[in-house]
């Protein structure tokens, strides 16, 4: 073999060897002098941070003790969680009735997990959801089958967070789609209405909408008529989220090639079928990532309802911390809460990635 051909062969190989640990380190951590410096700096930082943190969280910590026992340690007092878990999760739900919100949440999560498989997306699933929602509602509210009535003012903690975010999402999403279609409508009245709505809502923070729905809105109602406070907060969340979903969906609709509309038109397909069967399935698939972003914010933003005196899971945690016994352990409580939020958010975003992959049809 001549020199020339050897040289040519060499060029066919990948430029850097990324075989083995050394190769991996070289390509990923020390590929250039500034990467090397960055790596060293980060390693030093971690060496400074991780050991004490680990010691605090796992070695010097107490997991299930009284508040008194925690006074004598330097580490984390995780005991704050098990000692207050009842109130953090369920808040003011009456004593002895705990099984009701717990069962309702289990049903919700169970059905969410069941609905993950696309093969189960049939009409029967919608009915299953409807029945499930009725059961969950009865469990929470009571008043039938010998369950004492629990007013919504006593709904709090994680069930409240779930209710606000779940119904916020499932109502806001279709509403957002309708708004997006409306904004692209040929009919000027509908179009203007949708544009005004979307831009107005996007121009105000969620907090002010929550204030309006809890304080101003009742002023406009005739005397004697009251709308449930949780419902009012939910409406504010829905109105807010729908506007954002609308803009995301509109982006997806705009990304659709004209040929898709033309192909559907040339089959004689009416507008509603064209949208439902051709355009929306593709457009919504394109906007899965930003939609999930919005849904994640809804889930987290439900914690803003504290400002209108609803006790979601963040607020119940804060209440726990106002107990003098546990007042010093906010880091532990907030870490727990962060973990709780993270689990649900992470589940949502990994599911969305899976869905995206499943819906990819190779074009």
């Amino acid at each position: 073999m001549t020199e020339a051909t050897t040289a040519k062969r060499e060029q066919l190989k990948p430029p850097t060897s990324n075989v083995g640990l050394i190769g991996w380190l070289r390509t990923n951590l020390f590929s250039s002098w500034y990467n090397s410096i960055l790596t060293v700096v980060i390693l030093l930082f971690l060496a400074w941070l991780v050991p004490p943190l680990f010691r605090w969280a796992f070695i010097d910590s107490l997991w299930n003790s009284s508040a008194e026992a925690c006074r004598d340690i330097d580490g984390a007092c995780w005991s704050v969680i098990p000692n207050n878990i009842r109130f953090i999760i369920l808040g003011f739900f009456p004593e002895g009735q705990e099984w009701r919100p717990l069962l309702a949440m289990a049903l919700l999560l169970g059905l969410v997990i069941y609905s993950k498989e696309r093969s189960r997306w049939k009409k029967s699933l919608a009915w299953l959801w409807l029945i499930n929602i009725l059961i969950m509602g009865s469990l929470m509210h009571g008043g039938i089958l010998g369950m004492p009535v629990v007013e919504t003012s006593q709904w709090s903690g994680l069930p409240l967070t779930f209710i606000l975010s779940f119904f916020g999402m499932i109502v806001a999403y279709p509403m957002g789609i309708l708004l997006a279609l409306g904004r692209r409508s040929q009919m000027p009245a509908i179009k203007t209405l949708c544009v005004v709505y979307i831009e107005m809502i996007r121009g105000v923070p969620l907090i002010s909408l929550l204030f309006m729905s809890s304080i101003m809105f009742p002023l406009f109602l005739p005397e004697g008529v009251t709308i449930d406070k949780v419902l009012r907060a939910l409406i504010a969340i829905i109105l807010f989220t729908a506007a954002y979903i609308a803009e995301v969906v509109r982006g997806g609709l705009q990304a659709m090639p004209r040929g898709q509309y033309e192909a559907a038109d040339s089959l004689g397909l009416p507008y509603k079928h064209t949208m439902r069967l051709i355009i929306l399935p593709q457009a919504l698939k394109i906007v899965i990532p930003p939609s999930v972003g919005i849904l994640l914010s809804v889930f987290k933003d439900t914690s803003l309802v504290v400002i209108i005196a609803l006790y979601d899971v963040l607020k119940t945690t804060m209440v726990t911390l106002s107990n003098p016994n546990w007042a010093g352990y906010s880091s532990e409580s907030y870490i727990f809460l962060a973990l709780l939020y993270f689990i649900f958010c992470f589940a949502m975003s990994s599911y969305s990635r899976r869905l995206e992959k499943e819906l990819h049809t190779g074009h």
Binding site: A263, A264, S266, L267, G268, L269, L277, P281, T361, G362
Partner: protein, 256 residues
């Protein structure tokens, strides 16, 4: 203005399936089609050619109202095209269209692409629609791909699926807008063969194409358009061997 009236009327007694009278179309101020008169008899095959931008696509897209005309009349299968949505949908269901870029629905399988129209427009039961779809897929020799997605097929295969999709609606007329010009050369023949087969079965066809071999062997009439007008139309023999107009001669000299 030249008189673009028909030089041949294949069968004066039959009722034309498409009638266009003094039709004009503008895009904004741009007069894209001017005084179009055209009668198409059932089973007639017309090839439309002409330079790029001469309005060929616009003309056939007016026939199924993908584009709106501003003056004159277009009557398809007895239905005049106007703003009446019901009429438009009726005409579209009777007129199949094949696009340059196939425009298959990428999120649906091949068989779902084919059954969509029959199920939702014709209200055919799903099972029946699927049987019919398989029959047409056999016909375009692509039945084994029924469960795949369009993105997994070659261009030629996709175009044959697109033709089958139109056929599933049992159309009275088929419009083709440069069906082979987005294809790699080796795939052109498989699509043209399907179109030739269709022509032999007596389908009424309007084909915008530069495949002059196809025009010579299949067309009853070849039409030349330039700058929004029908400049000349004739039987293929006369059209190719003895073009009347200077513009036609120039065009033919450039493409043949």
């Amino acid at each position: 203005m030249n008189d673009p009236q028909n030089h041949i009327d294949s069968d004066k007694t039959a009722k034309p399936i498409i009638e266009i009278h003094e039709m004009h179309k503008w895009y904004g101020d741009f007069h894209v089609l001017s005084n179009i008169n055209l009668q198409v008899q059932p089973q007639e095959k017309i090839v439309i050619c002409g330079p790029s931008g001469s309005g060929k696509s616009t003309l056939i897209r007016c026939i199924n109202r993908l584009e709106e005309h501003q003056r004159g009349q277009i009557i398809v299968n007895g239905t005049e095209l106007s703003n009446d949505l019901k009429n438009i949908e009726k005409v579209r269901a009777e007129v199949g269209m094949v696009f340059q870029h196939f425009n298959l629905f990428p999120h649906l399988t091949i068989i779902e692409n084919l059954t969509l129209g029959p199920i939702w427009v014709r209200k055919t039961p799903k099972k029946e629609a699927e049987e019919m779809a398989m029959m047409y897929l056999e016909k375009v020799q692509i039945a084994e791909q029924a469960k795949k997605f369009p993105g997994q097929l070659s261009g030629g295969q996709q175009q044959r699926v697109a033709i089958a999709r139109s056929l599933c609606m049992n159309p009275q007329v088929m419009l083709f807008d440069e069906p082979t010009s987005a294809l790699d050369p080796e795939m052109i023949k498989e699509v043209l063969d399907v179109m030739i087969g269709l022509a032999e079965e007596g389908m009424t066809m309007l084909v915008v194409t530069h495949e002059m071999g196809f025009a010579k062997s299949v067309a009853d009439r070849v039409m030349f358009m330039d700058e929004g007008e029908i400049v000349e139309q004739n039987s293929p023999d006369v059209f190719f061997d003895n073009p009347q107009h200077e513009r036609t001669q120039l065009f033919l000299s450039q493409i043949l």
